[in-house]
């Protein structure tokens, strides 16, 4: 080993205090960065799951004109056949049909206009959190007849409870008059006020019978086997659809959510950038003090014939070894924390859960993500940061001549 590198090794192994502080500093910073990123990404995922899985779903197929003109002339025809064909695709985790329309719901004293949707109860258990949002009574089942599943705010407005009967009036697909009495089977509460105040669900079999919508749907909702690939899957499904149908992933039909998440990410990254800057200067100052404390020693090395490049090589070697070891240790700690809180999300408790529901969040649990590539990226960033912060002191000290360096106090 070259003598100046050997000296570098010896500096690391014998200057235990300096080595320990440097390692701790870079390890702590790396662990904090990895955990912060995992936590921020975790919150985005929760936000996404809450927003998308509450009801809209990750991928929606509709008639191409349905979004602009959601009337009966823009329905998905032969929806059963289409669903049967698509559900064999292994990239699709679950697929279900919905038929949404608007009715007047009435009790003896109250009437409220609301959306009523015919759904496939079992399939919706995967595609949305309707079943999980059960507040009172029971969730729908396949074959349920005139049983209705009401949003909590809607039930409050109608002043009904589980077991009560109410009537609805609407139009069938053939524009015939459509009315019936239904019994409140269950009441759900997603926390999304508007949704809970205007939505009601019945089984699609019953709905088709009443609204003459057999083999017709307003939406086909797909839950991908891998939710991260929703966009790509939507593009791959497109060619398999009849020309009149349109497929969109949540990123398209919920673009306001995407914008909100991007905005949140920007603030998150600004916070992380501030963190980076603070860490950069902490390491820079510490390295500066450390290296300047060795100015005399470096002056002597220069005097006895160690070249500038060799001094730089020695200091960079020390810095590389310490940064690498610190980042590796911090990476392991950060990854372990991210993994643990991914499996065991931070629970804020029942009191917070109530408040969270008011803001449309289903759970007060705050999980982290555990993504090895992101962790490696963060470790890479911290390594570069640690190395960059040592460059200035190294260059600065190397610019001195041996006499200046030896007389440096």
């Amino acid at each position: 080993m070259r003598p100046y590198l050997r000296l570098g090794v010896r500096n690391i192994t014998q200057s235990k205090g300096r080595t320990a502080v440097t390692l701790l500093l870079s390890a702590f910073s790396t662990a904090v960065l990895i955990f912060s990123t995992a936590f921020m990404d975790g919150q985005h995922r929760v936000m996404l799951k809450n927003a998308v899985e509450t009801y809209p779903g990750y991928i929606q197929i509709t008639h191409e004109n349905f979004r602009d003109n959601p009337g009966y002339e823009n329905l998905i025809e032969n929806s059963d056949t289409l669903v049967q064909r698509l559900q064999n695709d292994p990239r699709i985790g679950s697929i279900s049909q919905r038929f949404e329309t608007y009715v007047l719901l009435s009790t003896k004293e109250h009437s409220v206009g609301a959306m009523i949707a015919g759904i496939q109860p079992q399939k919706e258990q995967t595609n949305s959190i309707l079943a999980k949002s059960l507040h009172r009574g029971k969730y729908l089942q396949k074959g349920d007849g005139n049983a209705i599943y009401l949003g909590s705010e809607l039930a409050k407005n109608l002043q009904v409870k589980v077991g009560d009967t109410l009537a609805y009036i609407g139009n069938g697909v053939d524009y015939s008059f459509c009315a019936d009495n239904v019994v409140v089977k269950g009441i759900f509460q997603t926390g999304l006020f508007q949704f809970d105040a205007s939505s009601a669900f019945v089984s699609k079999e019953y709905f088709d019978h009443m609204f003459v919508s057999d083999n017709l749907a307003t939406h086909i909702v797909i839950y991908p086997a891998d939710i991260d690939t929703a966009n790509e899957l939507a593009q791959k499904i497109k060619p398999q659809l009849p020309p009149a149908l349109h497929v969109q992933s949540w990123k398209e039909f919920m673009h306001t959510l995407v914008q909100a998440m991007e905005l949140d990410s920007i603030f998150g990254y600004i916070t992380l950038a501030i963190f980076f800057i603070v860490i950069f200067f902490v390491i820079l100052i510490y390295t500066l003090l450390n290296i300047f404390a060795r100015t005399r020693e470096i002056g002597v090395l220069r005097a006895i014939g160690t070249g500038k490049k060799q001094i730089m090589g020695m200091l960079l070697f020390e810095s590389t070894v310490l940064s690498f070891a610190g980042v590796l240790a911090g990476g392991a700690i950060g990854a372990a924390l991210a993994y643990y809180f991914n499996l065991n999300p931070i629970e804020l408790g029942a009191e917070f859960e109530k408040q969270f529901k008011q803001y449309g969040l289903v759970s007060s649990a705050l999980p982290t993500t555990f993504e090895p590539l992101t962790i490696l990226r963060d470790m890479g960033i911290m390594f570069v940061l640690c190395m960059a912060s040592t460059l200035y002191p190294i260059v600065k000290i190397n610019a001195m001549n041996p006499v200046e360096a030896m007389h440096h106090v």
Partner: protein, 230 residues
């Protein structure tokens, strides 16, 4: 004897063009032969250390030329000057300046390793030099476990081990008691004699000055006396 070191019109100005400007050396002309044992003496601030630094290529002269063994070191680029120090000049400092994380042996062989010498050759030379300086039993010790006198012997060993043509010693005995200082000077004299190394050292101490074979006296940055001592 041949001209080994030639200084022509050498000057050094610190902080030129500022209120703190100091003429540390003025128009120094000096010729020293190979194998000489020279003392630079003079009061504090007379320019002894500055002159040693310029001869060792540790600092740049403000004017004039310095030739060592025919090579004009004042014209050398930084990297070449560093190679010159590594290959041809040994330094002994007042504060020893050993590498604290290296043992005595590693300190002694450091410059030889920089020169690219292999381990067996380094080992042989370290043993040889250590024997001459009486530090064979100290080789495995860290500088922090050595006395001042022992550290200075190790520093001398480091300076001579790589077989330089010139050794520059800035007040090498200043931190030593009189017995250690005397022993150190005897050793340096022996090395000068046996290895034919030109040794130039600075000192205030009359006992140390008395060991030299040539005395150069400086005052206010000028050579006021340059004589061979019988």
């Amino acid at each position: 004897m041949s001209k080994f070191i030639t200084l022509s019109n050498v000057s050094k100005i610190f902080n030129p063009g500022t209120p703190l400007e100091v003429d540390a050396l003025q128009d120094i002309d000096l010729v020293l032969d190979r194998g000489e044992f020279v003392v630079l003496s003079g009061p504090s601030g007379s320019g002894k250390t500055t002159l040693l630094n310029l001869m060792g290529g540790l600092d740049r002269a403000s004017g004039g030329t310095i030739r060592i063994d025919g090579k004009e070191i004042t014209a050398l680029h930084e990297d070449a000057l560093c190679d010159e120090r590594r290959d041809n000049i040994g330094f002994i400092f007042q504060a020893y300046n050993l590498i604290p994380v290296f043992s005595a042996k590693e300190n002694i062989e450091y410059v030889m390793k920089l020169q690219g010498r292999d381990q067996p050759s380094c080992d042989r030379r370290v043993t040889e030099v250590a024997k001459k300086l009486g530090i064979e039993k100290l080789l495995h010790k860290l500088p922090s476990n050595l006395s001042g006198g022992q550290q200075q012997r190790v520093a001398v060993a480091r300076a001579v081990a790589s077989k330089p043509k010139l050794i520059l010693a800035d007040e090498p005995t200043a931190n030593l008691d009189s017995v250690s200082a005397g022993e150190l000077m005897d050793m340096m004299e022996k090395l000068n004699r046996e290895e034919n190394i030109t040794i130039i050292f600075s000192s205030h101490d009359p006992m140390v000055i008395g060991k030299a074979k040539r005395s150069v006296v400086l005052k206010d940055g000028k050579v006021i006396k340059n004589e061979t001592v019988s």
